[in-house]
């Protein structure tokens, strides 16, 4: 009876593992495999020429710019919001928390739309912007704004639970002994949140570099000017230039895999320390 039960649970175990592996291979591994094989279908030289194409390089640079801007902006926001929300009590805290989470629940297309409504031709701001010579919609600032929007709560979301769980005792003690705010943060708070902080930055980077919908609405698709890597992939694919499209995609795949590895390391180190 016991042995039979054990055998049965072993059977269930390997059945479930089998289903999981099959699912992951079809859904996650095969798409990556397709990107690599399609990218290299016309040989290594063609691949290299596709990824060193002038427009690809320009798109890569814009993607990096937008990603760096989003990471810096959302890191500053994340630190401030997490500090304000976990270190103090005030009315409307719940509402504030919900408002911060809005960007992840809104469709990227709507994210693009709202910036068009604020800065586009029909907006009352438009004449002033034009006078000042500032172009936002169908220009680089629009792309950066959209990228910041879609990754807005990524850092704060990782920090808030950690800050909440460590409590405020140590910081209060330090403050009572006369430590300055920045010193308290650097010496006491930051060591606790180091890994969550890095984790948030990694997630923010991953999402920012791959954002498609919101950026697509605001970009206007000008090659070499307002084209990010994902948008460049779209243009190539729609022009039936499949091999170059997958070659450009492979850059993004490599970046994504690097980020996933960093993410795993950060998560592992963070778990070990706590």
């Amino acid at each position: 009876m016991e042995a039979e039960k054990k055998e049965q649970s072993q059977l269930v175990k390997w059945l479930l593992i089998g289903i999981s592996v099959l699912f992951l291979v079809i859904m996650l591994v095969l798409p990556l495999f397709v990107v690599v094989t399609e990218a290299l279908r016309k040989g290594w030289e063609f691949y290299v020429s596709a990824i060193t194409d002038e427009y690809t390089i320009k798109a890569l640079i814009l993607t990096i710019e937008a990603t760096v801007a989003a990471v810096i902006c959302n890191t500053i926001f994340g630190l401030c919001a997490a500090w304000a929300l976990t270190r103090f009590h005030f009315r409307g805290k719940k509402i504030l928390t919900t408002l911060i989470d809005i960007p992840v629940t809104v469709s990227p297309i709507i994210a693009g739309l709202i910036y068009i409504l604020v800065f586009g031709k029909q907006s009352f701001l438009y004449p002033y912007l034009q006078q000042a010579g500032i172009k936002i919609v169908f220009a680089v600032p629009g792309i950066i704004l959209a990228t910041i929007f879609v990754t807005f709560p990524f850092v704060s979301r990782e920090l808030i639970p950690v800050l909440e769980s460590i409590g405020t005792d140590e910081e209060e003690a330090a403050a009572l002994m006369g430590a300055k705010g920045l010193t308290i943060f650097r010496k006491i708070t930051f060591p606790h949140i180091k890994w969550a902080f890095l984790y948030g930055i990694v997630l923010c980077t991953a999402r920012a570099m791959g954002e498609f919908g919101a950026v697509s609405v605001l970009s206007g698709h000008l090659r070499g000017v307002t084209n990010t890597l994902p948008l460049h992939v779209e243009i190539l694919f729609n022009e039936f230039q499949y091999v170059p499209a997958f070659a450009v995609s492979s850059i993004l795949v490599i970046l994504a895999v690097i980020l996933l590895v960093i993410r795993s390391i950060v998560e592992y180190r963070g778990k070990k320390e706590t």
Partner: protein
């Protein structure tokens, strides 16, 4: 827990100021513009736009594909989380890391890869074409893309709860002679339910708004594979902001409903857990 007396920790004004300022500039003012702009539309016009046949059918396509994909994800997510928490096998850490791939991989890349995989000449598409099943450029294709997008949401919601689950109830049930299937249904599953709902709800919300991965695989035929975000996009390309805003408002309303539902489940659940402990 409530703190009374003087605040000793510094930085409230600074951090609060930065938080509110950035939140307003990036999120609140642009969102408000949506409300302001839509108030200039008449009620009649609004209803005319959102009840256009093409728009209604896009609501249906978006809803049904997101719903089916979320159902698949709920089941597969539960199995994956279970396998990752309860079993030991070679390659487990790799598997755990891979789950996050849909978060890290740009949606456009996922979109073109899945399209080429499931088209008639693709590896998977060829296999199913033998049976006369087309995947790419049909609703099945959209659903597949959404399964890809949604799976990490469910796994990452269920996993921590399963890890923290107290094994003693299971043991008690086993000692009392319950069959594994019964233990799962009566002891484990009720504990996982809220997390499963939360994860599936988040995945569903994300799927409704998804654009990048779907736009390639859908083929975008009106009345058949045209999803709502795509309709908004094409209205925008024709500079018809009034129609785009009207449709966006409906979508926004639905996603807030989902967010509200998910939060309600979470709040209810944390109350239940806290109540049990004290």
């Amino acid at each position: 827990m409530k703190k009374t007396g003087k605040r000793v920790i510094p930085g409230l004004n600074l951090t609060m100021g930065v938080t509110i300022a950035m939140l307003s500039i990036v999120v609140l003012i642009p969102l408000a513009s949506l409300a302001v702009y839509s108030s200039s539309l008449g009620m009649k016009e609004f209803f005319q736009v959102i009840t256009r046949e093409r728009v209604l059918s896009s609501f249906y396509v978006s809803f049904i594909t997101a719903f089916v994909a979320s159902a698949v994800n709920a089941v597969m997510g539960l199995i994956l989380a279970w396998v990752l928490v309860r079993y030991d096998f070679p390659g487990k850490r790799l598997m755990d890391g891979m789950i996050e791939l849909p978060f890290a991989l740009p949606t456009a890349v996922a979109g073109i890869a899945l399209t080429s995989l499931t088209s008639d000449q693709g590896l998977v598409g060829k296999f199913f074409a033998q049976f006369g099943i087309k995947i790419a450029y049909t609703r099945i294709g959209i659903t597949i893309a959404l399964v890809f997008i949604g799976i990490p949401f469910v796994v990452r919601a269920v996993q921590p709860v399963l890890e923290k689950l107290d094994g003693s109830y299971e043991e008690a049930a086993m000692v009392l002679g319950a069959k594994p299937a019964v233990i799962f249904r009566k002891v484990i599953f009720p504990e996982l339910m809220p997390a499963l709902f939360t994860g599936t709800g988040l995945a569903f919300g994300r799927c409704l708004g998804e654009y990048g991965s779907v736009v390639f695989i859908a083929g975008n035929k009106p009345y058949y594979t045209e999803i709502t975000p795509l309709i908004i996009m094409s209205e925008l390309q024709e500079y018809d902001y009034a129609s785009a805003t009207s449709i966006a408002l409906v979508m926004l309303f639905v996603s807030f409903l989902i967010l509200f539902g998910v939060n309600a489940i979470q709040a209810h659940n944390s109350k239940r857990i806290k109540g049990g402990n004290s």
